[in-house]
Symmetry: C2
Subunit: 358 residues, 2 copies
Amino acid sequence: ARSYSITLLPGDGIGPEVVAVAKDALSLVGSKEGFELRFQELLMGGAALDAVGVPLPDETLAAARASDAILLGAIGGYKWDNNEKHLKPETGLLSIRAGLGVFANLRPATVLPQLVDASTLKKEVAEGVDIMVVRELTGGIYFGKPRGFGTNDKGEEIGFNTELYAVSEIDRIARVAFEVARKRGGKLCSVDKANVLEASMLWRKRVTAIASEFPDVELSHMYVDNAAMQLVRNPKQFDTIVTNNIFGDILSDEASMITGSIGMLPSASVGESGPGLFEPIHGSAPDIAGQDKANPLATILSAAMLLKYGLGLESAAKRIEAAVTATLDNGFRTGDIYSPGTTLVGCKRMGEEVLKAL
Amino acid sequence: ARSYSITLLPGDGIGPEVVAVAKDALSLVGSKEGFELRFQELLMGGAALDAVGVPLPDETLAAARASDAILLGAIGGYKWDNNEKHLKPETGLLSIRAGLGVFANLRPATVLPQLVDASTLKKEVAEGVDIMVVRELTGGIYFGKPRGFGTNDKGEEIGFNTELYAVSEIDRIARVAFEVARKRGGKLCSVDKANVLEASMLWRKRVTAIASEFPDVELSHMYVDNAAMQLVRNPKQFDTIVTNNIFGDILSDEASMITGSIGMLPSASVGESGPGLFEPIHGSAPDIAGQDKANPLATILSAAMLLKYGLGLESAAKRIEAAVTATLDNGFRTGDIYSPGTTLVGCKRMGEEVLKAL
Ligand SMILES: CC(C)[C@H](C(=O)O)[C@@H](O)C(=O)O
Ligand SMILES: CC(C)[C@H](C(=O)O)[C@@H](O)C(=O)O
């Protein structure tokens, strides 16, 4: 039987609870579809800081690199919020993204018919929203140099970062986004601030150039401030969005909140080659950690993305997605998506229901 | 009688129509309150590009500087979208902001009871929203150097910008924001990305330090991605927001769309001393320019901000605001805020109704 090695990085807060549930779903779908998954669990984030003093131990990165795909829970928490930069859980996350070279972050924001009422947007605005944000993940202002602190010519302290993109970085994320758009609604909206920033002018020029390789995809451009508005005004106008690291951080979170069900949304981060990194978009939610209250569906759906984008096992991915849909149709809800008339369950029970549906 | 000189910069698209109406409102309120306004109209934006080849003629900046306050309509349009950077209308806008030193941009996002249905958010979420975004306007990545294009060590073309803040830049915008918050609900939320960016770490450190001068204001901090979500999830949690130039560009537009009535929202840009710049937050809307369809209320309310923040004429400002409220109460609506049961009017007629109410 085919066999794959999966790195599990439970991380902090509710991370371990949701990863445990997703692991069971992966094992079960493997046995149904006739492949084997070998799991190794490693330290990352605050958990790693507490255990060994760094947010991303070398062994974790090495083991992750050597595996076929990585499933991450969540990292961070109040406890480490005031740490120096190199001792922040977030720094571990940025290091593993860079270390794996996963430059393309796919973040779907889909309003499920069962959960349309969870959105703060009016039903007719939220209904049917199905957006994929393709965010550049290993470049831009997150990684650009020079960065740091210094003194200006008046002797004042300054803090600075560099937003920088090279042609090859833009071209490769644009190609991923066009491929994604082609398999979806065939529409790609590139978001930038080309009326002000040179980095965005180059972005727009290259995305426009790459478009000639994808004549079947309709390309448009939008300024980031307008995109932030349009997501609220009429999110249904968007199919696939491609944008840089920082704008993608902001817009993908905005888009996900528009669906009203952050606890439901997965993400995939993939590179040219090598294993991909799959994680729910929600945080570590330290306030509900260890209370069996977390919604494991985002992590289960991240496991589905792992199967599809990480291992190329599309039918296994579909099985998981169908099981999640069935579980919602059966009326099960965790607290974050609960509404009167449905059955309130905890993290474990939700996992069991998904396994049953599988 | 007191006399003030006002620079009018009608600009492009619907700019001239809405500025004409706001000018009449200013004149009338002046005669009621016993002060005189002397107007001079100057070229800026695409109009200046077409007439004299630059987006901000030297005479315009000099005259603006020498006046007591500036009222701007809107700039830009498809026609100039592909111009080189120094020939873009937007570059004129950035130059006048820098030239006037108006580092504090105040952008209210208020849901008026008459217009709550215009929001795409559910009524219970939108109702009562009253946010003031204080955006830093003359620093950060909009102006940071180095910027431009170049070649990296692999010989590839790069585009780059610098996000940079010095202590004095942060301190002065923080003080403005604390002052504003103090006169409003007493709550200030500073938005940054201090978990990743050094410029944001310094921002957070200084805003926290300045807080000690304002013990009566409650300060909180939020990451920009979370702020983009929270504006959708529960905008009522915000009173005053302070943030950098680029995050402010994005979040203030998002916040304004949450109110559902972009055509209603004014803004004020003020500096340490010298005249302030007042403008509606909407764009030049070239598609409806010259058709008497534009909503002039945002510009009329910008004129009210000009009276209040620019000239210190608070009672005159209140008169204008009251006249706008009365006009809405009387049921008059331009197309952008029309709903069944109200009276659809054009730009001029809306202006006349405000004058009547004055
Ligand atoms: C935790 C933080 C560093 C991270 C980011 O900004 O990329 C997070 O917000 C995300 O979007 O995955
Ligand atoms: C036109 C553009 C340069 C400008 C900005 O980004 O500041 C506009 O979006 C605004 O917010 O006033």
